[in-house]
């Protein structure tokens, strides 16, 4: 109850609130706080004054009709877009200071523990599955360019460590068989899993999945539901996902935010969302008579 009040306050009063110590503890339970986010492309308002927060450890779903601005929200969080106005605050741990993500460079976002997948799989086709995973651990290497040019023993040690970790992740997702396969030509379902495996390589705190079930058949979707649950359990991270497959969203998500034309529509548990008249209207259209 207390929390809800705080979040309403946050939406209304904006930034001052997080400075006071009393609220910091409450706010600390949120991993992401989106405040009044706006993203305009010329005259098109892709995201228009959206505010919400994601609680630590939950699976949060973002749904909405096509063109509602879901992916744009993701892109604003991961800094692919610079929001027109508003801000996104992030706390890697409950005790950590809130970071305004707009001050973070796009390639440093992952070092904070925020990793993402893409709508159309972005796996490197000309590398093996194992190498794809090793790329994702890029920031954990400390070898200098010189060390890498000369292949000094230090690099070898680091490579061994990363490879061991990659093997562990592959094992976890049941991909060990594919480790030496080139990504080029692997089935779509496997590639989707490889992309998820990649997010696990950099000690994620928040995993952002952009339409993880798109292009998967029913069995694969079932499997994916299991995987998402297992990831949350094993790695203890928060998961934020956009998805059109309502079955998946309703099954895995703790809370769901429905948006339409970049605006807040409804927020609540899957049951609440299913019952919400606003959501039904946005998906099915206004009734004529």
């Amino acid at each position: 109850m207390n929390r809800e009040v705080a979040s309403i306050n946050l939406q209304n009063a904006g930034s001052e609130i997080i400075d006071t110590k009393a609220q910091t503890e409450v706010a600390g339970s949120n991993i992401i706080e989106v405040e009044n986010l706006c993203m305009y492309f010329g005259g098109i308002k892709a995201v228009d004054g959206l505010s919400f927060e994601v609680r630590r450890g939950e699976i949060f779903g973002l749904i909405g009709p096509n063109g509602a601005g879901k992916t744009t929200v993701f892109n604003c969080i991961t800094q692919f877009y610079r929001p027109t106005s508003g801000r996104v605050l992030y706390r890697s741990t409950p005790e950590a200071e809130a970071v305004d993500l707009s001050t973070v460079k796009i390639h440093d976002v992952s070092t904070l523990g925020i990793v993402r997948t893409f709508q159309n799989v972005e796996v490197v086709p000309e590398l093996s599955v194992l190498d794809n995973l090793r790329i994702a651990a890029y920031r954990s290497y400390t070898s200098s360019i010189l060390t890498q040019m000369l292949h000094l023993p230090k690099l070898r040690r680091e490579e061994d460590k990363v490879t061991a970790k990659a093997m562990e992740v592959l094992e976890f997702l049941g991909l060990t068989l594919y480790k030496d396969f080139y990504a080029h030509g692997l089935p779509y379902g496997i590639l989707k899993k490889v992309e998820i495996a990649r997010t696990l390589m950099s000690d994620p705190k928040l995993i952002i999945l952009d339409e993880p079930a798109a292009g998967l058949n029913d069995t694969e979707t079932e499997e994916l539901i299991g995987i998402i649950g297992q990831i949350q359990e094993k790695y203890g991270c928060t998961i934020l996902l956009v998805e059109h497959d309502m079955g998946l969203v309703m099954k895995v998500c703790n809370r769901i935010l429905a948006i339409s034309f970049g605006k807040h529509l409804a927020l609540g548990t899957p049951e609440e969302i299913q019952a919400s008249p606003e959501v039904q209207r946005a998906y099915l259209g206004e009734e004529e008579d």
């Binding site: 390639h107 440093d108 976002v109 972005e122 086709p125 090793r134 890029y138």
Partner: protein, 325 residues
């Protein structure tokens, strides 16, 4: 690493060439081809791994050649100083182009580097139209240096750069470059900085090109800038062609491509009367070869070699199975 031993062995064989009774003209042709191979290695790194196309190679070659001329001939300083200055200046230029590549991409970038190369070429002509180094001024460690020494220097530089590049490709940096090439967005999401890696790719290719220019100046000793093709777009296009024919993702493949474009003509065909009378015929054949390879074997000769190897392997497997039955 096994690959590195093969490279070193190849280097020793190349270094032995002048001592096994080959005519000096063939050795000289080999030397110049290796110089062009240095350019191609740098270019392959840029194109095959960085996914960036540059038509500025020729300009950077000129930078190296002019630095060699001024340092060695005009200021009478040792070759090592020329080396250091060349690397330093081309490094700065590579960083600059790398920064530009963040703003301008694809074909636009290729044309922009072409413009840059033209600026450099025009500057060279304005500074001095003919550059020449006297044999007597060439000294290394206080000892007079002849053509043979420079040839050995070329082989050494080629092998060292080959080793460094191979190692880079098989390192985290190499993989990061490939991921930047395939999807800049995904790479950034994984924490890879576009700027750093594009700059690195351009630095490698410009430094290699400039070092090649320096070696060329020391080896050939006489360049007429206004009339030579060396600093014009022809060289840039030839290097691009060599990388494509050989396969830009394979360093030895693109070295072989360089050999096809530069080496065969000067080493073998120049002995055959028909080709001496019609040098244009080779140019035409090179063109046809480039077109055929690009159309049907996008991975270049390296891809053809891999396919062949795979087929032979399968063939021997099959015969083994047949024997067992």
């Amino acid at each position: 690493m096994k690959k590195n031993y093969i490279t070193i062995a190849a280097g020793l064989m190349l270094a032995a060439l002048p001592f096994v009774g080959l005519s000096s003209s063939v050795v000289f042709a080999m030397g110049t081809t290796l110089i062009f191979a240095v350019m191609t290695i740098g270019f392959s790194f840029l194109m095959g791994y960085g996914g960036l196309a540059s038509l500025g190679t020729a300009g950077f070659v000129g930078v190296g050649a002019y630095i060699a001329y001024f340092v060695v001939e005009v200021y009478k300083l040792p070759i090592s100083v020329a080396f250091l200055i060349t690397v330093a200046i081309s490094l700065v230029m590579g960083v600059l182009v790398g920064f530009i590549s963040l703003r301008i991409e694809g074909i636009y970038l290729a044309l922009l580097t072409l413009g840059l190369s033209e600026i450099l070429r025009n500057t060279f002509v304005s500074i001095k139209a003919t550059i020449k180094i006297n044999t007597s001024t060439l000294k290394m460690l206080g000892m007079p240096v002849g053509e043979l020494h420079i040839y050995l220097l070329i082989v050494a530089v080629f092998i060292v750069l080959m080793l460094i590049t191979t190692n880079l490709i098989n390192s985290p940096i190499g993989r990061a470059l490939i991921s930047v090439k395939n999807s800049p967005s995904a790479a950034q999401a994984m924490g890879i900085s576009l700027l750093k890696h594009r700059v690195l790719a351009f630095v490698v290719s410009t430094v290699f090109a400039a070092v090649a220019g320096l070696l060329y100046m020391l080896y050939v000793r006489n360049i007429t800038t206004s009339s030579t093709q060396l600093f014009s777009i022809i060289t840039s296009l030839n290097i691009l062609g060599a990388a494509v024919i050989g396969g830009a993702k394979s360093l030895w493949g693109s070295t072989f491509g360089t050999f096809l474009i530069y080496g065969i003509q000067s080493m073998f065909l120049s002995k055959i009367k028909f080709f001496v009378q019609n040098p244009a015929f080779i140019t035409m054949l090179t063109g046809v070869l480039i077109i055929i390879i690009v159309m049907f074997y996008p991975g270049g000769l390296a891809q053809i070699a891999m396919t062949l190897k795979y087929k032979i392997k399968n063939l021997s497997k099959k015969t083994n199975v047949g024997g067992a039955l």
